[in-house]
């Protein structure tokens, strides 16, 4: 049908690119409303302090100021809700302290919002915010999980003993203890997963608008899931019903998880717009992003593996303490539990596993899901532990992996930590990656580097992740306060052009292209005839949004289901027009035909008939060709693969250079190979960033040291090398596309490969991330790292 194949498996250039490369994107900060005012948020510069007094008089009197608000003005509205409740080992619910919109009585982290100043111009608001007199009395504070758990540690929230949010566990402790007793050897590794700051290039923005005549509120916001924000803010914070609140997330400049959550600023501008009956816009400075966007990771763990003499894994035991920050962000409690502990089997047959996770509060920015969310922490722990076991047994890193891989014929495979993997072939991705990286040729390259005075190392990670989140019933049992299905509305217009309304959101993933390819493939129309609409609760029936690599596996499946309904209805219309039985109608390449005849009608003809139903079975079917589907996945999806990193270290400077990076992933069915490659490369870059460069640094009191791009090392073009991406795919068995997801594999698979390479080059057992030149130089020179 199509002159150029644009369906599943093709790489047409992205439909969204034309507006982005020509400067015609429409990001939230590009939007302005008539009569707009500007909000500046005054934030705490202290990690923990009592608010003695706030004198707003001078700020209120400043030129252009429209309003100044503190928590006393917000007494009638709720705090920010948490979307996931974890129960501790003893059955008690997690500690869930109030997360006020503006600080009430105390500030608990640097960046905690205290007051908002709204003025006619942004500069006036900024000037007036300088005139706020805020009297703070410092309180003792803590930044690390270790300090949070010390006896007598300062309490972040009064009455939460030991700063403990929950003490949770999973697995069979007795079976693990028994296996440890009889094992040939138990290998122990202490490791940390460093705190990161997501840093999407577009800072967060929120613009609230209110129509005093209709009573309608509109929030324009940098969100990955506008329907979720409407639900959380409408129902739990402002008390607004859905039909009075529209949330629009237009072009969004990257998210990586940090734009999933409902943030205070969204509630502030929406509420204030209502109070003032004027639009209120807040745009984060990057410095604000560093202290107010949810951070990621921050785990301290001890991992143990019991093995037999042949290196077969017998049992694994993990103890992790996760830093929640000062308050619970929207999905924070789920990250170190159900998105982490359930992944600890990795790609291996370890028969019994026991994991304990404590979550604690500290005087730091709240931590939540950041690209990978729990799964990078799991893969780093498992893969580093496997390397350590190999080292201590004197075994080859690849051999021990092969020996313990889940066999190809063992799927579906039930792990001892709740998940059932549907498909995978870890041998295939391993073999392909080793070939791509020329693993066999490494010793010669190492020798050549040594001759030049350089230290070469190679690292490998054979990781697994779970995404395509998630079955609603299952996550409900695990504490989620939401369902995790997805919604698609496929609207075939009278002339045959098609609009698809999806509850997922694209902020770099290329959905406008990938989803259009799905439609082109299934309905047999050109790509140019399909428009994908996302990011507006006023247009889209419902949706849970984009995170957890779920858009294609869950959102795409909803689209397939809706198109199935379109085809089924189209068959009935065609049967009427062609005077045949609907059972005899076939649909292929955009044409409905009577099987075995040349009688046919195109999709366009059927659509026109559906909207101009003059000759139409109106008694049996309704006019129109517009179908909606909700798709609830039957299981998670399980991408996995092999990442191999080769590094060279300059012993004079401690600088680690990435020589090459090879990733071979199993992402299931690929719709657009070009986009998949780009997603993996981007994820790998963030993983290399975590492993070598990035660290959210706090001093012991909770003062944020890495508070700007001057201090927080973002990967730049010359920090990275080419990233070679391949796939060896097995199909997901439980969704109609067979797709597993590709957004997070790069960030999940790569850090252990990079650190494995650094450790290999240095000849050491383990080092924590990031492997900065200073730390590497200290190791080489036998000095303690500062």
């Amino acid at each position: 049908m199509n002159a150029v194949f644009e369906g599943i498996g093709a790489s047409p250039r992205r439909k969204e690119d034309l507006r982005f490369i020509s400067g015609r994107g429409n990001y939230t900060d590009d939007m302005n409303r008539p009569g707009q005012t500007y909000a500046i948020i005054k934030r705490s510069d202290r990690p923990h302090a009592k608010i003695i007094a706030i004198d707003t008089a001078a700020a209120r009197a400043a030129p252009g100021v429209v309003a100044v608000y503190t928590s006393t003005d917000l007494a009638a509205i709720g705090g920010l809700p948490c979307g996931w409740q974890i129960h501790s080992k003893d059955g008690s619910p997690m500690a869930e302290p109030k997360h006020p919109i503006l600080a009430e009585g105390k500030v608990r982290h640097v960046g905690d919002p205290i007051a908002v100043v709204i003025a006619e111009t942004k500069q006036q608001a900024r000037d007036a915010a300088e005139l706020l007199h805020i009297d703070l009395e410092d309180l003792p504070s803590i930044a690390t999980v270790t300090d949070a758990m010390k006896p007598g540690a300062p309490e972040v929230h009064d009455g939460i003993a030991g700063n403990q949010c929950y003490d949770w566990h999973l697995g069979d402790a007795d079976a693990v203890a028994a296996a440890f007793k009889s094992a040939h050897k138990v290998v122990t590794l202490d490791l940390e997963n460093n705190r990161l700051i997501p840093n999407a290039m577009e800072p967060r923005v929120a613009l609230g608008d209110y129509d005093r005549f209709s009573g309608d509120y509109t929030l324009y916001t940098t969100s990955q899931n506008p329907h979720v924000i409407r639900l959380l803010m409408g129902a739990f914070v402002l008390g607004l019903p859905e039909h009075r609140l529209r949330v629009v997330a237009p072009d969004v400049g990257g998210g990586f998880g940090s734009k999933i959550y409902h943030y205070a600023e969204e509630a502030i501008v929406t509420w204030a717009a209502g109070k003032l009956a004027r639009p209120v816009k807040w745009t984060a400075d990057r410095s604000e992003s560093f202290m107010s966007d949810a951070h990621g990771r921050d785990h301290v763990s001890t991992a143990q593996m019991a093995v037999d003499a042949d290196g077969k894994f017998l049992a694994m035991k993990v103890h992790t303490v996760a830093n929640m920050g000062a308050y619970l962000s929207t999905f924070a409690p789920a990250v170190p539990t159900y998105l982490y502990a359930t992944l600890l089997a990795g790609t291996y047959t370890t028969p019994v596993i026991y994991v304990e996770v404590k979550a604690v509060f500290t005087n730091t920015v709240p931590v939540d899901a950041y690209r990978g969310a729990g799964r990078p922490e799991a893969s780093f722990l498992v893969e580093r532990l496997v390397d350590t076991v190999a080292l201590e047994l004197g075994m080859d890193r690849v051999d021990i992996r092969r020996r313990n891989f889940i066999p190809r014929d063992a799927f579906p495979y039930q792990t001892p930590v709740a998940l059932q993997y549907d498909s995978g072939d870890y041998f295939a991705t391993l073999d392909a990656a080793m070939k791509s990286a020329d693993w066999a040729g490494f010793p010669a390259r190492k020798a050549e580097a040594k001759a030049r005075g350089k230290l070469r190392g190679i690292g490998i990670s054979t990781y697994l992740e779970a995404c395509g989140i998630a079955p609603s019933k299952l996550v409900g049992q695990l504490g989620a306060r939401a369902g995790l299905y997805e919604v698609a509305n496929v609207r075939v217009h009278p002339t045959g052009s098609i609009s698809v309304f999806t509850g997922t959101h694209s902020h770099g993933q290329g959905h406008e292209t990938t989803f259009a390819q799905l439609v082109a493939d299934q309905l047999g129309v050109p790509l140019s005839q399909v428009d994908i609409v996302h990011g507006d609760t006023g247009k889209i029936p419902f949706g849970m949004g984009t995170y957890g690599s779920r858009s294609l596996a869950v959102g795409g499946s909803a689209m397939v289901k809706a198109m199935d309904k379109i085809i089924a209805k189209g068959k009935k219309i065609a049967a009427h027009l062609l005077e045949a039985s609907a059972n005899d109608i076939e649909f292929k390449n955009g044409v409905f035909s009577v099987a075995g005849t040349d009688r046919s009608k195109t999709l366009g003809e059927i659509a026109l008939t559906a909207y101009v139903p003059h000759n139409y079975p109106i008694e049996e079917i309704e006019p129109g060709l517009d179908e909606t589907a909700f798709y609830d996945p039957a299981n998670f999806t399980f991408p996995g693969g092999c990442h191999i990193c080769e590094v060279e270290i300059d012993p004079e400077t401690g600088v680690t250079t990435i020589i090459n990076f090879n990733a071979v992933d199993d992402v299931g069915r690929v719709v657009n190979p070009m986009i998949v490659e780009g997603q993996v490369q981007g994820g790998v870059a963030q993983g290399i960033g975590q492993a070598l460069l990035e660290n959210a640094a706090y001093d012991a009191s909770g003062q944020l040291l890495s508070g700007s791009f001057m201090d927080y090392t973002m990967p730049r073009a010359d920090d990275l090398s080419n990233i070679t991406v391949g796939t060896e795919n097995t199909m997901c068995t439980h969704n109609p596309l067979g797709s597993k997801g590709c957004g997070e594999v790069g960030a999940i698979g790569s850090p252990p490969a990079v650190i494995g390479a650094v450790c290999d080059a240095l000849g050491i057992r383990h080092m924590n991330m990031p492997a900065t030149p200073q730390k590497v130089w200290a190791i080489i020179n036998g000095r303690p790292a500062a």
Binding site: I21, R24, G508, S708, R716, A717, D718
Partner: protein, 161 residues
């Protein structure tokens, strides 16, 4: 308030600004040219790169009054008047050198100047070093480097002279 007269994308404009107004604020707020983005407050990210008298500059690092009398080109002015894309724009699309698109305008403007300034041609390493002032969080730079390499071939080709 000071008055600034400058040429933006070939059109003359005279605007009154507060003395502290940055060039990027003038472009976005006074002229509605929202293609130029603000990604940081420390001149690190390069999302705001424009051309000032033909040379790339971070428009967040320049006061609007400093641009008085200058000719500014923003991303909106890079394509030809008939909409024909600049080779750098074409190659960014062809090589999937953008994902969320937020860094893209600054990245493209920086890349155009980088290539223009190096008619002898740039190696991959030189392209990577030349992009040091521009952050991208989505792509890992791999495809950006490829796009610039392809664009320099087109920009230096005899037909393009």
């Amino acid at each position: 308030m000071p008055q600034v007269t400058l040429t933006v994308n070939g059109k003359s404009a005279t605007v009154e600004v507060e003395a502290r107004t940055l060039l990027v604020e003038l472009l976005r707020e006074k002229l509605g040219l929202t293609g130029t983005h603000i990604g940081c407050d420390t001149s690190q990210c390069g999302a705001c790169v424009v051309h000032v008298d033909g040379v790339s500059a971070k428009s967040c690092t320049m006061l609007a009054v400093q641009a008085n009398g200058c000719a500014i080109t923003t991303i909106e002015g890079l394509a030809a008047a008939d909409g024909t894309l600049h080779p750098m724009q074409e190659m960014f699309r062809e090589h999937h050198a953008l994902q969320c698109g937020f860094c893209t305008p600054g990245m493209v403007m920086a890349a155009v100047d980088l290539v223009n300034s190096n008619p002898q041609g740039l190696s991959e390493d030189e392209i990577r070093h030349g992009l040091e002032g521009n952050l991208c969080r989505c792509t890992g730079y791999h495809n950006i480097v490829k796009a610039i390499d392809a664009a320099q071939g087109l920009m230096h080709a005899p037909a393009a002279q």
